[in-house]
Symmetry: C2
């Protein structure tokens, strides 16, 4: 049974704040029947986000139920990811109406006695996207086993919520069109929702973050030449840098794609942490990876959603000049410059001629 | 009731492998009645570790019980911190003999149905040193609130198990002798055991590592001018760097003390990760902190346990020359050079003249 999601985004449905909702609407719009946000009721997803067509925004669960959903998706993640108390009644009501619950909160809803009991009595399932596997291990540098047969690409960024997941999904789709053997390793609740599997590495306990990244990367490499690992956070983020580093050192990328937003000059919600100029940040990022594996940043993905077309093109040109790297906004424009950079990097590693899919063994 | 620990270190009692056992013996020897390690039975702590006097090593729980313990301390932490299956019967037998259980494993023993039921039936408590508080939050840069009244010093290191906790405890004791107002913020199970409180940051889920460090640092600063934060891991550790960075960016130290072992050239168990020359590593460490707060490394603590006295002195001189920083082995020799460096740094921050304990408010 396919999901028909009613998405809870109360008070937060917008281009930057409702991250999980937005990705679900962008990549699987056919599975979304409506979005709950009383402040935007009557609007459409297209009007609020610029994509998503005529999926309606509704004022309440009751109104949303008229659209015949079979699941409630918690589409927003408050800082810290805890469950706001005001949502409890709404979730219970959704369960009473036989909606499955999909949640990316840190609060594991299926472990909550009241939710668990109610769900059991109604015969529905609670899906906690952030619940990590029980059998995680520490990292052991095992991604190096892939050196002879695959290329691991990690998106990294100057800040959270800047395009690390979206860039990988755009690259994945573009690479599939070119018939490249590509896979996407989802590391956050939204990516897991879109891809159907993954581990939310920010919900893993500290000692196992890198181990979770290692396991994911190896698993994603099973049938792929190119593994696109979803990055998290930023090496300078005051709250989440631990997750960023664990993911970097566990996934051991061969190369990185830098995600940035030209208009962002400091970490969101932390104006005291300034974002250095991009060329300097790229140098910091490469230094962060180097002690374990020298991995260059080979392209830049710019998030230009708040710029005009002309401003966006100017920003891309300026970044290309300043960093000497190919750059684009892979959502607004063609992701080809980044796909090309990865393709060339991968072919050089394996000395494969264009058009061939055979891989040399152990070359690097 | 004071604890009288019987320490489980089966198969691992040695200077480098039984970290929790060793710290307990070094800092609270009066609380240790015996150590279980059948391979070293008949030896003393002094013979195995070089300290600990005549605390005996025994072959079994049964033999240890003759020493009248009232608690069993799990004194070793296997990689990953999980409970080896073979210890289950031994722990149950200890509970049956009315020993309290103290554990620093990632496996939370008090959450294990069999252990919990048995402990309840025998009326004893299971103390899980690594169990994090339930109400953790993300970091918000709040350590900056201390800027006007305290100095935060973090120990950092080239690798795990190299002296970050021990250095802080040696500094704490030396500072107390000088009547400095100092506190120790324990971030690992062993430090928590020694200090009586703290949070094991490596057992906290990724998004809350920095938040846990922030909370600990603020709490430790309540009645102290100098806060000594126990470091964890290494910025280049392939398994644990996430914890290291979260702790660094959450505790926001004003200065750092670098811990290193002259004879160690690669990360333990990861020979593929080489440790750069110390001056280069110090530069990397300062760059890792700088985007959030410029914090210099102001001294070096060398772990010379595997060198002769002459070799140790030569290593210290060489490091002082190469790094232009004061260095010592704070266990083997007087920790004064590091204490002096911290004292001078603290006084400069607050422009306090020697001999005064008054602090200027809001300086910097």
């Amino acid at each position: 049974m396919n999901s028909r999601f009613l998405i809870l985004a109360e008070g937060a449905f917008s281009p930057l704040r409702s991250k999980t909702a937005n990705a679900c609407i962008r990549y699987t719009p056919e599975q979304v029947v409506a979005i709950i946000d009383s402040g935007r009721a009557g609007d459409t997803a297209q009007k609020v986000l610029g994509f998503g067509g005529d999926i309606p925004v509704v004022a309440s669960l009751t109104e949303g139920l008229t659209r015949k959903p079979n699941a409630l998706l918690i589409g927003i993640a408050p800082p810290g990811g805890q469950l706001p108390a005001s949502w409890r009644a709404l979730i219970l009501e959704a369960i009473d109406n036989h909606l499955e619950i999909w949640s990316g909160l840190h609060t594991i809803l299926s472990d909550d006695p009241e939710f668990a009991a109610r769900a059991k009595s109604r015969g529905i399932t609670i899906h906690d996207l952030r619940k990590p596997p029980a059998d995680l291990d520490i990292a052991r540098g095992r991604v190096r086993e892939l050196d002879g047969r695959a290329t691991v690409i990690l998106t990294v960024g100057t800040d959270c919520n800047i395009g690390k997941m979206t860039t990988q999904l755009q690259l994945r789709d573009a690479m599939r069109e070119r018939r490249m053997r590509v896979s996407f390793a989802a590391t956050g609740q939204t990516g897991i929702l879109v891809e159907g599997w993954g581990i939310s590495v920010d919900a893993v306990i500290g000692d196992f973050i890198a181990g979770a990244a290692e396991r994911l990367t190896l698993q994603a490499a099973k049938d792929a030449d190119i593994v696109l690992v979803e990055g998290q956070g930023s090496i300078i983020h005051p709250s989440y840098s631990g997750v960023t580093y664990g993911l970097l050192h566990g996934s051991l990328p061969h190369a990185m794609v830098m995600c940035a937003q030209p208009s962002r000059t400091a970490i969101n919600n932390h104006p005291w942490v300034k974002i250095p100029p991009l060329a300097e940040f790229i140098d910091m990022q490469e230094r962060a990876a180097a002690p374990l594996r020298a991995a260059p940043v080979i392209a830049v993905a710019l998030n230009t959603y708040d710029l005009t077309d002309a401003e966006a093109r100017a920003a891309i040109e300026r970044v290309e000049r300043e960093t000497d790297l190919p750059a684009t906004d892979p959502v607004r424009f063609d992701p080809a410059p980044i796909v090309d950079a990865i393709d060339v990097f991968h072919r050089k590693r394996f000395a494969v001629t264009a058009g061939s899919t055979a891989l040399g063994a152990g070359v690097r």
